[in-house]
């Protein structure tokens, strides 16, 4: 590549990064800013907004709701994902490609379509909205991610390893406990973390499918109407941002560790390449 075009590439990359991350950086900036109005210049450092969060009862309820939804969704999606990934990696059956494709579809479906469709379906069934309906929606959108992550974990699990264990006198259950599980565990944890994060941040489905129990993103949205609450929303956003980044990095690190254990090229096949 010529010097000139690599220079342009660098400029492009920098502009892209600013475009992508500048708004995100503003979040913690104003969260610690000692002013109720969100505007530059910054006036001073404070942790008051975070303290305010702590005292907020509605917020705490919303946070607990979010945790319940995120943990349930992550566990269920990971379980479903594990079955699908295992089946896809080990067995061949008629219509396999089509079935896997259908499982992956929510990945590219607009969330609002999923949300509206679920809402219609639930009301047709005469079911009332509650936290569990949000969980259903989140499981739907998290499962493709779980399948993608776990597929790479299960694909790296050589069938001969389980046979070797069995051959050495170990039972089926013992083989699962001593070989299968330890080898896919990092993938499972990675899937749990990523699904948890997706669910925790998700707004549209939660907004449509939640009844009176709001989740954190829905709570944040409801607070945006009150300018005075904006700084504490910023503070809450900062916490969510840090948690999300932490979990995603941790999840990816676990996935790479799993790949390395199985002797695969760790860099190859990120969470999303398993989908293709």
């Amino acid at each position: 590549m010529t010097r000139l075009s690599s220079n342009w590439l660098a400029v492009y990359a920098i502009i892209y990064m600013i475009f992508l991350y500048a708004p995100v950086v503003l979040l913690p900036l104003f969260a610690f800013n000692d002013a109720t109005i969100i505007a530059l210049p910054l006036s001073g450092f404070t942790t008051a907004w975070f303290e305010q969060l702590w005292g907020n009862q509605t917020l705490r309820t919303a946070a607990i709701n979010s945790l319940i939804v995120a943990i349930s969704s992550a566990v269920i999606a990971t379980l479903l994902g594990a079955f699908a990934a295992r089946a896809a990696a080990r067995y061949s059956f008629p219509g396999k490609t089509g079935i896997i494709g259908l499982i992956m579809l929510p990945l590219v479906l607009p969330e609002i379509i999923v949300a509206v469709a679920l809402l219609v379906a639930l009301s047709q069934l005469g079911l009332s909205l509650a936290l569990w309906t949000v969980v259903v929606g989140h499981v739907l959108i998290c499962t493709p991610f779980a399948v993608a992550i776990l597929s790479s974990a299960f694909r790296g699990l050589d069938r001969e390893l389980e046979e070797a264990s069995f051959d050495l006198g170990e039972s089926r259950w013992g083989t699962f406990r001593r070989v299968t599980f330890p080898l896919v565990l990092p993938g499972v944890i990675s899937s749990l973390l990523i699904c948890f994060t997706i669910s925790l941040d998700e707004f549209i489905i939660a907004f449509f499918l939640t009844g009176t129990d709001v989740t954190l993103p829905v709570y944040i949205w409801s607070q945006l109407r009150f300018p005075a609450r904006l700084p504490s929303v910023m503070a809450l956003g900062t916490i969510l941002l840090v948690l999300s980044i932490l979990f995603l990095v941790l999840g990816e690190w676990m996935r790479r560790r799993a790949a390395r254990r199985q002797g695969q090229d760790a860099a190859a096949g990120g969470a999303m390449t398993g989908v293709a």
Binding site: E163, S171, G174, Q262
Partner: protein
Amino acid sequence: MNETNGSAPMIELEKTVKRFGTFTALHGIDATVQEGEFFSLLGPSGCGKTTLLRLIAGFENPTSGSIRIAGHDMRGIPANKRPTNMVFQSYAIFPHLNVAQNVGYGLKRRHLSRREMAREVGEALEMVDMAGYERRAAHELSGGQRQRVALARALVMRPKVVLLDEPLSALDKKLREQMQRELRDLQRSIGITFVLVTHDQEEALIMSDRIAVMFEGRIAQMATPEELYRRPASRRVASFIGVMNFLPARATGETQTGLVVQIESLGEVVLPSHTIPAGLRVDDIREVGIRPEMLTVIFDDAPGPRHSFEGQVSGNSYYGDMTYYDVVLPGSERTVTISMRNTANRAVVRPGNPVRVGWSAESILLFRQED
């Protein structure tokens, strides 16, 4: 049952059939492997060797027929309850465990003390020349070392039979040849029955006490390496084991001493009766075979073997110790391969030069038409 080592049957296969859906991978295998024997399953890729090994190990169930190991019917006995241990083609070293944990994997269920366990593992590693590698991680091992660990992991279980699925195919040539000798010597010294799967005829010849040659789910011949090489039961076995020159031929008559056979380009020859396989119908003879080393280039005019022909060298391959010549037969387009041991005072014959080639009637093998 005879109690002396090596004469009791260890594995008995009787009409063992394996079907996958409509595809028949094994068509009624009958074979017996003796205790203490180094037995090989040899055949081209896809002929069912691995399938047969997996049936013995208990990973697959036969569609029909029976498998007995050490006198016990194995029907319904799963792999983890059989007195066999497998060395997998991929070695299947547990990647999350170190060498000692890999080797000790199967001992875990035997509830040994920590010291007994360490001793057993150490002894097994010693056996495969890997002492001191206990704490190595799986990913730090070379291909040859993985192979040794896989073997130690099987041997430590003290199985009645060790099953090996192409254990050397992933190694480079030099290491493979070294491992072939080591593996054979180890088997001889510990006396455990080995069943080896390989598609490499040379490997099978070097290592085995007996070989079953398989084609398309059937055993074509079961014999010692020497028998297999010298008396292949069919044209197909003959061309799979080593190099064989085939020439069209017909039986034309019989004398008191043997069978008169007319061989294309070589003429009429009387084959001694004892070289003619029992059960071969004289009218069925369509071809003869002769090994490259049974044809000799006659370098001076010294009186050579009884039979000879005048040919022309069309090509040669020089291997240092040996030279392989392609020689065009007189009055024919056909070439035969001749191998000659090189000696100090003999130059390699260049292509284009005429040569006199000697042969003897005893080295001629007879083959039927095969379909």
